[in-house]
Subunit: 84 residues, 2 copies
DNA sequence: ATAATATTTAGATATTTGTCTAAATATATA
DNA sequence: TATATATTTAGACAAATATCTAAATATTAT
């Protein structure tokens, strides 16, 4: 749970997740949505990946990122325990 | 959402929430559950309070903390948007 | 009033984090 | 093969954070 909450504790990373909710995107296309350098976005993507919140697949010279909804379920479960 | 995720990004604070899920507790009783100084726990409680995840009420010389389930719902909503 | 108990505030410090630029790596194209 | 494009890695740095001890504040009890 630690890596997940660490990953969620940043507005840029949460925004990336919301982008990926709609469709998978390349690292570059993701970076273009923010006023932050590409290396910084790459670093954010790495943190999301380590938390298993996104997956990545190399397609030619691009790297395509997708949301991993399985882990989203894990967060839901944790939150829901607070209500029981 | 920022303050909430910031508050959740710490194992001690998440553990405090799980404790309060079962019953309300005084600051001292909460502190006794951790191997961390009372001032540090007080600081964690302050962060949880600013995020509105807990409420506090002074009862005599004690301060009783409770979980605020309303805000827990807000987190749920945000997580669920990721799945739609 | 004084002492004891409960909690918070203040100030210090080491660690973590988000950001940047420059350089490295990998792939595609001319 | 040389060049352009896409992405990541490396290293540096300022800001944020979790922790501590000491002191302050508030309440209760003697």
């Amino acid at each position: 749970m630690n890596a997940i909450f660490k990953a969620l504790n940043d507005e840029t990373r949460r925004d990336i997740l919301e982008l990926l909710r709609k469709q998978e995107m390349t690292a570059g296309d993701i970076a273009d949505q923010f006023h932050i350098s590409k290396p910084s976005i790459s670093h954010h993507l790495d943190i999301l990946k380590r938390a298993d919140l996104v997956t990545s697949e190399k397609k030619g010279q691009f790297v395509v990122y997708s949301l991993n909804t399985t882990i989203v379920d894990d967060i839901l479960k944790w939150i829901i325990t607070l209500k029981k």
